[in-house]
């Protein structure tokens, strides 16, 4: 589901392609002052580990960040690059 980029061996994944119930590490917070600030104030930081709670493949998704549940629109989820953590460690 993630947009793969051919130059990098491991495909770059965005939050939009994340799977429900797995944990991911945020790579980078997308630019644009307003969006940037909103995400930071809700606890989205580079390196932060988040859990995808609800992801149905369309429409918004929900993630757990710093103990709160945040809903993210699909558009913005596409802009947040993430890395999947070994998901056996989850729970």
């Amino acid at each position: 589901m993630g947009n793969s980029r051919h130059t990098i061996p491991s495909p770059t994944l965005t939050l939009a392609g994340a799977v429900q119930g797995r944990k991911y590490k945020i790579d980078k917070i997308p630019g644009g002052h307003c969006l940037n600030s909103r995400l930071l104030s809700l606890g989205f930081l580079p390196g932060e580990v988040i859990l995808v709670i609800n992801q149905s493949g369309w429409g918004p998704l929900t993630v757990l960040v710093k103990g709160s549940k945040i809903a993210l629109g699909r558009g913005i989820a596409h802009k947040i690059p993430v890395q999947e953590l070994d998901y056996k460690s989850n729970g």
């Binding site: 917070i29 600030s37 909103r38 809700l42 580079p46 960040v65 709160s68 549940k69 558009g75």
Partner: protein, 720 residues
């Protein structure tokens, strides 16, 4: 330093949304609250008063924000209040069960260098989680006392006030905590502070210079704006240039924006403090909230469940609300009867019965339904479901070029449009905000409800609920179409990204819901007691004066006398007599109305409304409805009460039923739905969006209402 008794103290409550700030505010101030009048006041502010240990404490409830940047109006309002008004103590309210995220706002209060007290709220839930915290140490690390509170139960309030007084009375004991942003950034911060110190403007009296420097690195629009005013021009440009150099330098060294680094440092500070003081118990991955959400925001069931909840809400409001409404109606009609027997005939009697009871009473009758509607909305808000509605509706809203968050003001708009306009402040993008405000008109507000209840009850007694529901749905359809139109023409561009917290579900407290409901109901009642009372009197005057000439009424009286005589002589039957008498009385009333100023105005504007099927009465009611949609009903009340000798509560209904057909009745509801809600809402609209948008709003909604009603009437006429 012992303060004199009866001294004033101002405290401000700051906290993120869902931190329980409102419940603390309610507990601190109780019934002594004041919601700033919407029109005319620069900022909507909730304030309350509390007497405590000889102090008269004024409590300001700041808007709930996650941060103190300048990206939403709420943030700017909260921040400007703290900077400009300099409250004696700021209470930072945090959700104890979510410290790391909630303390983010607190770090920014620390940066602002204000006297602080922490309220660790919802401490009952926190204690249940088994997590332990060393509060003494944490309070040292955060540089301010911490009080554990449970806002929903009112626990910890006096401890909180004690600490507030302690901080206020011992300013010298205050410890200043400096957040560190890493060596690279700190270097640049010192450089900027050095520059700031050189200005002639006395910045340090108003601002903390370190905070200013940080804001310059965050490229904060508001701070830049106010500096531009305060500083000499050359100095300002140099300063901005220096800040830009620093930003570029940081970007080069760390490949991150200074904003991100600052945020990371704040969270780093929080994590550091919590690491030393918190022993966390591993939590269940799946909380009760998550389990509820599996159903309520399920991709398949989410929308139908929401639809059912909405439907139930309307059933509750209309079916259950009928009983108290009928009791009130009965009460008012008894009152009229009482007055009509007690008072001598004349102008005063007419003013009281036709003008005031007919007008204001006609509005007060609907209070129970309005209260029920506001209770429902408060329940949705306080339980946490409202945020889910935004989530569920995001997909739908996306299709009309908005996102889920815009739906919340729309839902509140079902109650009252004015708070709905206020609520759009949480939207960051101006375009999104403008569209949401423009379409909010079509979210049928509580003030229009009396019109629907009256007309649907008269013309569709069997399916009144469904008919009213259809009006609401049509409103939504027009909201959608208007949003699409505006997005394609006047406010181009993409919707802002959708990011929103879904708070933990909570059982709403009775007190919280009642206060919420009462705040809004009070506005409704206040309107009934002031504007609507005034308009009712004006309407009555317009209907009563100028009075008809003596010749005409004498002529009629003579006719009546003749009639009476023939009846007493047995020339005509009782039925014939009554019918003829009614005809004559009707003629007098009609002549009176036609002669009155209102009648003339009605007839003057009638040609405009005629193609919609409205006669001069409905035209007049629509015009008076601009003052407030409730006035439509009160005007109709006065109008038909004046023409009718029989003053029981059924008379208005039967009079209207006799005058119009269901098509006109429905069309009138439609027309009332589509044009702007009321003058008060327009005042707020102008303040929030500017004169240009206001003119568009007025022109657009009036035009649309006319065109739609025209089409409905002209097409509907073919079938009837």
């Amino acid at each position: 330093m012992v303060e004199a008794k009866n001294s004033q103290l101002i405290i401000a409550l700051a906290g993120s949304p869902n931190s329980g700030k409102t419940s603390i505010f309610n507990n601190l101030t109780g019934a002594m609250q004041h919601v700033g009048n919407y029109p005319g006041v620069t900022v909507e502010q909730k304030t309350g008063l509390r007497k405590y240990r000889g102090y008269s404490i004024k409590v300001f409830d700041l808007p709930g924000t996650y941060s103190l940047t300048a990206y939403t109006l709420d943030e700017i309002v909260a921040r400007n209040y703290i900077i400009n008004e300099k409250p004696d103590v700021v209470v930072s309210i945090v959700d104890s069960s979510n410290l790391s995220r909630n303390l983010y706002l607190s770090t920014q209060l620390i940066e602002l260098d204000v006297p602080l007290v922490f309220a660790f709220n919802m401490s009952d839930i926190f204690k249940k989680s088994g997590t332990e915290v060393n509060l003494d140490l944490l309070s040292v690390l955060l540089g301010a006392p911490i009080v554990q509170t449970v806002g929903s139960k009112g626990t910890g309030m006096s401890e909180l006030l004690d600490k507030v007084l302690e901080v206020h009375e011992n300013p010298q004991a205050r410890k200043r905590v400096n957040l560190k942003y890493g060596d690279e950034l700190e270097n640049e911060v010192s450089k900027i502070i050095e520059i700031l110190k050189k200005t002639q403007a006395k910045l340090s009296q108003k601002f903390n210079l370190r905070w200013l420097a940080i804001k310059l690195f965050e490229q904060d629009r508001e701070v830049l704006k106010s500096l531009k005013v305060l500083l000499e021009e050359k100095f300002y440009t140099d300063l901005v240039k220096a800040a830009e150099n620093s930003i570029n330098h940081i970007k080069n060294v760390s490949r991150d924006m200074p904003e991100t680094i600052i945020a990371e440092s704040r969270y780093g500070f929080i994590n550091g403090a919590l690491k030393e003081t918190l022993i966390e118990k591993p939590q269940n991955e799946v909380s009760a909230s998550d389990r509820i959400d599996r159903v309520l925001i399920n991709r398949v069931f989410g929308l139908p469940i929401f639809a059912i909840i909405m439907w139930l809400m309307f059933q509750l409001v209309f079916k259950v609300g009928d009983y108290p409404m009928n009791w009130l109606a009965l009460g008012f009609s008894r009152l009229s009867q009482l007055l009509s027997t007690a008072l001598p005939a004349g102008l005063l009697k007419s003013l009281l019965i036709d003008g005031i009871i007919g007008g204001v009473g006609g509005i007060l009758v609907f209070t129970p339904k309005i209260m029920l509607l506001f209770i429902c909305i408060a329940l949705l808000e306080d339980s946490g479901y409202m945020a889910r509605v935004a989530f569920i509706m995001d997909r739908v809203m996306h299709k009309i070029g908005l996102h889920g968050k815009s739906f919340i003001p729309m839902l509140i708009g079902f109650g009252c449009t004015i708070p709905a306009y206020m609520c759009t402040r949480t939207l960051e993008s101006k375009n999104d905000r403008m569209i949401t405000m423009h379409i909010n008109t079509f979210m049928s507000c509580g003030g229009r409800l009396p019109i629907y209840i009256l007309f649907a009850g008269i013309f569709f007694p069997k399916n009144a609920g469904n008919i009213i529901f259809s009006i609401y749905v049509i409103g939504i359809v027009f909201a959608v179409l208007t949003a699409k139109l505006l997005r394609a023409t006047r406010f181009k561009g993409e919707a802002e990204p959708f990011v929103m917290e879904l708070p933990t579900y909570r059982v709403p407290t009775v007190k919280g819901v009642l206060i919420h409901m009462w705040e809004r109901t009070w506005l409704y009642l206040k309107k009934a007691g002031t504007i609507i009372l005034a308009i009712s009197i004006i309407v009555w005057i317009l209907f009563t004066f100028p009075r008809i000439g003596n010749a005409y009424s004498e002529g009629c009286s003579e006719q009546l006398a003749v009639l009476e005589q023939s009846f007493s002589l047995g020339d005509i039957s009782e039925k014939e007599y009554k019918d003829s008498a009614l005809v004559i009385e009707g003629k007098i009333a009609a002549e009176k109305l036609a002669h009155s100023a209102a009648g003339k105005i009605g007839r003057f504007v009638e040609p405009v409304f005629k193609p919609l099927g409205f006669d001069w009465r409905l035209s007049l009611a629509s015009i008076s409805g601009m003052a407030g949609k409730e006035v439509v009903v009160s005007t109709m009340g006065t109008l038909f009460s004046l023409t009718n000798e029989n003053k029981d509560s059924q008379s208005l209904r039967s009079a209207i039923a006799g005058q119009y057909n269901p098509l006109v009745g429905y069309n009138f509801m439609l027309f009332s739905l589509l044009y702007f809600p009321c003058i008060a809402s327009l005042a707020v609209f102008r303040k929030e969006a500017g004169t240009k948008e206001l003119l568009f709003q007025i022109g657009y909604t009036l035009g649309l209402a006319w065109v739609v009603s025209f089409i409905v009437f002209q097409v509907g006429r073919i079938f009837i």
